[in-house]
Symmetry: C2
Subunit: 359 residues, 2 copies
DNA sequence: CTGAAAGCGCTTACAG
DNA sequence: CTGAAAGCGCTTACAG
């Protein structure tokens, strides 16, 4: 069934040299004289020989594969990131093994352990809330790794992150300047390093002003459940005048909730989101976003990974990229009459086909 | 640097048996007596031994890896598909190697060849326009493969596809019933099997009526270029009253173009899209879509792949899943006065921040 | 049921 | 510069 692929021995035989010599021309690991070298090249060509990466990996304890671990691919931002890595990696002869942590440290650890058993040449990791055991396992294996997007304790690992503090600072100050006094930040997990940085910056921006900030943690991944949670908030009264969503899924849920409750955006509530979704410009009003330079992240991370693979003991490399605030129609100035103090929104749109799980 | 992982020999030594015996309990490839078996299990546990898949793969010419090849991950639908595969595969102890064809047969072939050199246990392929050489290479290698989403010539390969004819038939008939007489179908590549099926169905629906159909092929992946192309159409006069987009990227470009040209949807033009984007319900008007059951596809494809890996010579397995038409506000009835005959839209919105490449 | 041994396809000291 | 040979960690006929 499986016709045997040519091996290095076939090439050697055809070129009239030893396997070792073929290996040397393949790897440039030793000088091979001009004509032998050419004979080897010709033989490789004639047989359309390609190396068996399994054998190579077994011998060298290192395969030309880089493992990419992100929480989910269905999040547009992570999908784009993986896409970008696939591009740059395959142009350098690397395969991508993709694993998903589901933002769960246990799964993350297990999946990374499996990746390590393949002796991958390197790992790109968007870490979960608590990646300690995962990072320890990677460190123990000596596999080069670059941490991306979410910072971990500095000093041990190469990483490329965003300047979340600055981005949030910009966003918060912008809102405050527009008259907002009650700002809510909706997050998946408070404990996430990225989130903590953002919360700190939000509070710092509010310090010394009369601005009230509030963090809403919504651990669920289920849109219905999230919307139900939001509905509670808006019905509870004392509604914020501006909401910052930590990712595009929350932004989407918020927009749908606005619609259900007939909350006008931005007249009643302004909205701004981290994690620029591709639909930001399609919705009405257009969504204000913090734009993260995905391609730049991927390129930088790859650069770090390559240099780490070449030099495992070099100094730790760090990059903090800039994220841009892009204000659009979903954010507006607060007029005194509209400050929502003590206001409730509970007009559930009767015609909405929405199922409201849990309500 | 790299502490040596325990090997099967370490386990054997600790359990006081031979490596072959350990292998047998690992694989259940031969009966091992109760107590020896337990000793092996204990040793594995004590050393937290895991098999080296590279060695295993080298020996068996088969690794517990499945290769997934899609055109792009940044397309939401494909990302979801890959996500779904990762889930089901890793729960069965398989890794995922992900490659991207960029809808280019040459790249597809090259990347698949590389995949094959890893002796992957199976492949899931969303084929490019012309996957002939790729499929030949896969067939030659004897690797189990399931073709997904886009049908290829029947009979050689397991595949799970959608009933595109029926979906398009429903969509077209729905539009015709609402009074539409000029329908445009915007596609990436006419030659794609999926697209051809849809075009055929569209024409069939129009046959015997006074309905004019038109296919617009836009090979570009650049949103600016696509919009420029669309602007031409709308300026050209004799604008269609209904447009069907073959994927969500086109739908997005169309919505933006409507906005630029102050075309009202659905009053001036109705819009409907294959490939349900996650923002379909966020835009105004809500987008009408043909909804494809992603998870079901993934599950079915995996089922086929597993059974193919178990039985390489079994009969070809085929599934054609049903895609639902979900009508929403973006589609409406045509009133006689609004039939756009000879109409042009060329009010370029001056305030739009849009860059119009090429115009 | 169990072990000794060959072999999967490479790479890499080690001689020469 | 080049070749012979060992070895990476498994699996699998083959004896027993």
């Amino acid at each position: 069934m499986k016709p045997n692929r040519p091996t290095i021995l076939d090439v050697a035989a055809r070129a009239g040299v030893s396997a070792g010599t073929v290996s040397h021309v393949l790897n440039g690991s030793a000088k091979v004289s001009g004509k032998r070298r050419q004979r080897v090249l010709d033989a490789i060509d004639a047989l359309s020989y390609t190396r068996n990466p399994l054998a190579q990996g077994l011998r060298q304890l290192r395969t030309p594969v880089v493992g990419v671990c992100v929480p989910h691919t269905s999040v547009a931002y992570f999908a784009k990131l993986v896409d970008a890595f696939e591009d740059v990696a395959s142009s350098r002869g690397f395969e991508i093994m993709q694993i998903l942590s589901h933002d769960n440290p246990r799964i993350e650890h297990k999946r990374i352990a499996s990746l390590l058993s393949y002796h991958v040449g390197g790992i790109i990791l968007v870490p979960s809330v608590d990646p300690t055991s995962t990072l320890d396992a990677i460190a123990r294996s000596g596999t080069p790794v670059v941490v991306v997007d979410r910072p971990v304790a500095q000093g041990r690992f190469d990483q490329v992150t965003f300047d979340n503090r600055n981005a949030m600072m910009q966003a918060a100050r912008g809102l405050i300047r527009l008259g907002h006094r009650r700002i809510m930040f909706v997050v998946r997990q408070r404990a996430l390093a990225t989130t903590r940085e953002r919360i700190t910056a939000l509070r710092a921006a509010a310090r010394g002003t009369e601005v009230t900030t509030r963090v809403l943690e919504c651990a669920s991944y289920d849109a219905d459940a999230i919307r139900a949670r939001l509905v509670e908030i808006f019905r509870g009264g004392n509604v914020p005048t501006a909401i910052i969503a930590s990712n595009s899924m929350f932004a989407a849920c918020l927009l749908r909730t606005f619609e259900m409750l007939r909350i006008r955006c931005p007249q009643d509530v302004s909205l701004l989101a981290f994690d620029q979704p591709d639909w930001a410009e399609l919705v009405t009003p257009k969504l204000s976003v913090v734009r993260q330079p995905t391609m730049e992240v991927a390129r930088k991370a790859w650069e770090f990974l390559i240099s780490r693979m070449d030099n495992e003991t070099g100094p730790v490399q760090t990059a903090e990229l800039h994220a841009d605030l892009v204000l659009a129609a979903s954010v507006s100035r607060v007029r005194p009459a509209e400050d929502n103090r003590g206001k409730r929104f509970d007009t559930l749109a009767g015609s909405s086909p929405l199922r409201l799980g849990g309500l």
